[in-house]
């Protein structure tokens, strides 16, 4: 990412939403930023890391989101400004700390940035992390543009220091990755000296008075945010329809209104501060319109809040019609779009609306038929494909209906055909070994199925360790397979404890998976998943042992990282004389079953062939060809 500390104040630049958040943090004087990578939030910390040396701040990839926020709190207690960024799932991980931090309070400004992923495009769930503002009584800001990302980050830090509590800023996937013009402001001229006054103590007891103090802080935050100008109305004096919107939905509402040419009839109440809701402002605008539509993404946060305010004032406001999730005008699931908002506006206002021109639609259908269907899959040469291949083979040969408890990372794709659908369950970071631990304790009640838990190397450190200790402690019977590709690959190759690198590029200490296993007293072995025979033997043997937790480390560098480090050693080709094609005994085994995108079936010749552009030369397919038709020759020899 770019070093955003070097932007020239007052000179407009194109910034991604996440970069603008980072710049805002720098302008606010953040001294410590920490995160665990997770799309769509990852670029925030990377931008800060790439700006850290010139800005003179500390930035780290932490082992998980809770630790990241705890580190940020440390900065706050030392009188500095700190922040933690994460995706929506990370808020769940950090929640326990958040719900205590909000009671104990904070010193220096501290901001939690959550980037939510409507439709779960790069997530295992679709979740609205705004819940944390309600649960933990925290002020919540929702920018709609990169410029607001910057300005609201500065407001968030100021607000945090004024009320002595954490402030939440919620981004969305579209905002995180949208680029727009931003005018940077100046960076702070001086730095604070970190010091924790020993007379200051931060804890949550006595709980009840501190709980009250927390509520008082929230009320104060409402007043400050109300005066900050982040909420505003845009539209006719007495609109026929009032749209109450936040985040990216504000832009969608504006665009929908333009598409329908309904500027005279529709007003938009832009809410940048969405918790606590500005009751006075909302009552003022409810009084001016009889129809109200809510535009927001994922949960009906505004819808519930505004209706609650209305319920308290229904006598003076009179009868109103509300449109939103409850009436089907806002989808309960999936990402919102200008078209979806336009459809709602058209329905309410009785306007004609056609999302797509029928002529265009017809052409699009023709074009669609020409596009080859694609499935999400592992990259060519991905060691996870080889790993799941071995698991599939071994579990079938084992014949006891083995179960694979999955986890979060590239290897989550093991639930799909690319991983031979070999994964039986996936939930959150670290839940795979936890579920396996429980299964491994059902032996005495007749559960005879072998259990494998797969975790990536980064996940191993993020959340798997407590489950492993649990399994070790309680003698749970399963095999942990660490799919060690030496990268946090799914989120963009960030370093993790096992790599020893750090966010700021300095050498950290390698935390060795083997040593952790040895320290826990776990038997372990390291295998190369590219070596199918050795991997399958090791896995089969590990499954037969039984009696406790044992670990296999499938270690092979992520194929994308390997490609950047000189590539793979093999040149792959298919001997058409040997290839069995569709004949009995194969039936396109490599392209239909193994399914590496580097192999394609040539319909004209009825034989498999190698797509030389896609194939990286890992050589695994040469091991699965029953006819020995796939040849792996050293690249030097074929050059």
């Amino acid at each position: 990412m770019a070093d955003v500390s070097k932007l020239i104040p007052g000179q407009k630049v194109l910034l991604q939403g996440n970069e603008a958040i980072a710049r805002g943090a720098l302008e606010a004087g953040v001294a410590l930023a920490a995160a665990y990578p997770g799309n769509p939030s990852s670029e925030i910390l990377q931008t800060l890391a790439d700006s850290a040396h010139s800005a003179g701040i500390y930035v780290e990839w932490s082992t998980n989101e809770k630790v990241a926020l705890e580190s940020a709190a440390a900065a706050s207690y030392a009188g500095l400004r700190g922040m933690a960024s994460m995706k929506q799932n990370g808020v769940n991980v950090a929640q326990d700390f958040i719900c205590n931090l909000t009671i104990s309070g904070t010193q220096g400004g501290i901001v939690l940035v959550t980037c939510d992923d409507p439709s779960g495009v790069s997530s295992t769930n679709e979740e609205d992390a705004r819940f944390i503002a309600r649960v933990a009584c925290l002020p919540l800001l929702e920018p709609a543009t990169p410029a607001e990302c910057l300005s609201m980050m500065k407001l968030a830090f100021e607000l945090s220091e004024q009320i002595g509590n954490l402030v939440v800023l919620r981004g969305l996937a579209r905002l995180s990755h949208t680029r727009a013009g931003v005018v940077p402001g100046p960076l702070p001229e001086s730095k604070r000296r970190p010091r924790w006054d020993p007379s200051q103590r931060w804890f949550t007891i006595p709980v009840v008075p501190r709980h009250q103090a927390m509520l008082d802080k929230l009320a104060k935050a409402g007043e400050i945010m109300g005066a900050a100008g982040v909420n505003y109305y845009d539209g006719p004096q007495r609109p026929e329809l009032l749209v109450v919107a936040s985040g990216s939905s504000r832009l969608y509402a504006d665009e929908a209104r333009r598409m329908l040419e309904a500027g005279e009839r529709v007003g938009i109440l832009h809410l940048g501060a969405t918790w606590p809701l500005d009751q006075e402002l909302i009552l003022e605008h409810l009084a001016r319109a009889d129809k109200i539509l809510f535009a927001e993404e994922v949960d009906p946060h505004l819808e519930g809040g505004v209706k609650s305010i209305y319920a308290q004032h229904v006598r003076e406001l009179g009868i109103k019609d509300f449109f939103g999730q409850d009436t089907g005008h806002k989808p309960p699931v999936g990402e919102l779009s200008p078209s979806r908002v336009a459809a709602a506006l058209a329905d309410i206002l009785g306007l004609p609306w056609q999302e797509v021109d029928p002529a265009y639609q017809e052409k699009a259908q023709v074009a669609q038929a020409l596009v080859a269907p694609r499935q999400v899959g592992f990259c060519p040469g991905c060691p996870h494909r080889a790993s799941y291949w071995s698991m599939k083979q071994v579990l079938a040969a084992d014949g006891r209906e083995g179960i694979v408890s999955g986890d979060i990372g590239c290897y989550t794709l093991g639930v799909l055909p690319t991983g031979y659908q070999r994964v039986n369950a996936v939930h959150c970071m670290g839940s795979g070994p936890g579920i396996a631990s429980g299964l491994g304790k059902l032996r005495d009640q007749g559960f005879g199925q072998p259990v494998i838990s797969v975790v990536g190397d980064s996940t191993f450190f993020h959340a798997a360790l407590p489950a492993l200790v649990n399994a070790r402690w309680n003698n749970s019977d399963y095999v942990l397979v660490v799919l060690d590709n030496s990268a946090t690959a799914m989120t963009g190759f960030q370093p993790h404890p096992g790599t020893g690198a750090t966010a700021m590029g300095q050498a950290g200490t390698v935390v060795d998976v083997e040593q952790v296993c040895a320290g826990l007293g776990l038997p372990y072995a390291v295998v190369d998943p590219y070596d199918l025979e050795a991997t399958q033997e090791a896995l089969y043997d590990a499954l037969q042992i039984g009696g406790g937790l044992r670990v296999l480390i499938f270690r092979r560098l992520c194929a994308l990282v390997q490609n950047k480090q000189g590539g793979h050693p093999w040149s792959i080709s298919v001997d058409p004389e040997l290839c069995r094609g569709e004949d009995c005994g194969c039936h396109r085994f490599c392209t239909r079953v193994f399914r590496c995108p580097g192999l394609v079936f040539d319909e004209a010749t009825g034989k498999a062939t190698v797509d030389e552009v896609v194939c990286v030369g890992c050589g695994v397919c040469a091991q699965i060809c029953p006819a020995g038709a796939i040849k792996a020759r050293p690249k030097e020899a074929t050059a």
Binding site: A396, H587, F589, R592
Partner: protein, 349 residues
């Protein structure tokens, strides 16, 4: 117009049906006839498995499976099949003692066939690195000796034969197998898509068999009795012994026969062939004469090899005792009856 459903839809005769009717119901006897033909059927630690659907509606895996192809009550030539000559004998060489089964006749005949270049390789069953039996190709006496003796567990050896037949080679082969495997060889030779079996299999030595055991079951049973795998040899002594004898690491152990019966392949119950009726030579224990084999020469090729071995002084041969043959007949009849009853029971659910 809606066409009526086809009056008869051809039933799949490939992996799908093999799984449904043989493997998934637990009737596979690990003969290996389906192995080595394609990548979809695999064999590990004594067990056949199919990790992926092959997507074809027909295949040799079904056509060659002796459990799938089981038909009527047995061949028409009497309970022990065609016999040109019946003998009892033993190898004269001392290097087979304690390693080969009974009189060591199979090992000696095989070694001779290789030495005389009647065949260039022989497919046999031998314990693999985990102790599980598996198919092995041997090409000389030392290889034969390494595989001598039985541990009474399915090793999928025909998979190795299929692999040998798939190679771009033309040298003659020998096969040693159990009755199920000899039945599968018959299906291979008759299969229109498998011409090389007729061309290349020049010698088939069959073994007598009343039942066979799955390796994993044997290993678990051994573990329950504190016996460490791998086994060097095993035997069912004739009734009324009621035991299963095993030799492991130089130590001898006896396991109760009822426990061994309990783990035997369910698929063996439907087998009507005691003496490998389709072989060139069939060899088994010689009742009442420990350390000797009963030998049935069934074809001229088999009889010729036996004659050659005797002529070279490699085998000590005597005509089979009528009482012993009668006993073998009775045992074969009993096996056919058991198989018929089992098949009948399955037909009627």
């Amino acid at each position: 117009m809606v066409l009526p459903a086809a009056p008869f839809a051809p039933q799949p005769t490939g992996l799908e049906r093999l799984l449904a009717e043989v493997i998934n119901p637990g009737l596979c006897v690990a003969c290996g006839a389906c192995l080595g033909l394609c990548p979809h059927l695999i064999f590990l630690d004594g067990q056949v498995a199919a990790p992926d659907p092959c997507g074809l509606t027909s295949g040799r895996c079904w056509d060659l499976c002796p459990v799938a192809q089981r038909g009527g009550p047995g061949a028409a030539q009497g309970p022990i099949g065609p016999v040109l000559g019946a003998w009892q004998g033993r190898a004269t060489a001392r290097d087979l003692e304690g390693r080969a089964q009974y009189g060591g006749v199979v090992s000696e005949l095989l070694a001779l066939a290789l030495e005389q270049a009647l065949v260039q390789e022989a497919v046999v069953t031998a314990a693999g690195p985990r102790g599980a039996p598996q198919g092995l190709r041997v090409s000389g006496r030392s290889g034969v000796l390494g595989a001598a003796g039985s541990i009474y567990a399915g090793g999928g050896a025909l998979g190795e034969l299929n692999r040998a037949l798939a190679e771009d080679a033309c040298h003659p082969l020998a096969v040693v197998g159990l009755p199920c495997q000899i039945q599968a060889l018959g299906a291979m030779r008759a299969h229109p898509d498998y011409p090389q079996t007729l061309e290349r299999i020049h010698l088939v030595i069959g073994l007598f068999c009343t039942m066979n055991l799955p390796w994993r079951g044997v290993r678990d049973l051994l573990a329950r009795h504190g016996v460490q795998a791998p086994l060097s040899r095993a035997d069912f002594p004739p009734p009324p012994a009621g035991i299963f004898q095993v030799w492991s690491g130089g130590a001898y152990h006896e396991l109760p026969l009822d426990q061994v019966r309990a783990i035997s392949y369910p698929g063996c119950a439907g087998c009507a062939d005691l003496t490998s009726e389709g072989a060139d030579l069939s060899v088994g224990a010689c009742e009442g004469k420990p350390g000797w084999n009963t030998i049935l020469a069934r074809t001229h090729a088999g009889a010729g090899l036996l004659e050659l071995a005797a002529g070279k002084g490699l085998l000590e041969l005597e005509p089979a005792q009528p009482a012993s043959l009668e006993h073998l007949n009775q045992a074969a009849i009993a096996k056919r009856k058991r198989a018929a009853a089992w098949s009948e029971e399955r037909r009627h659910g």
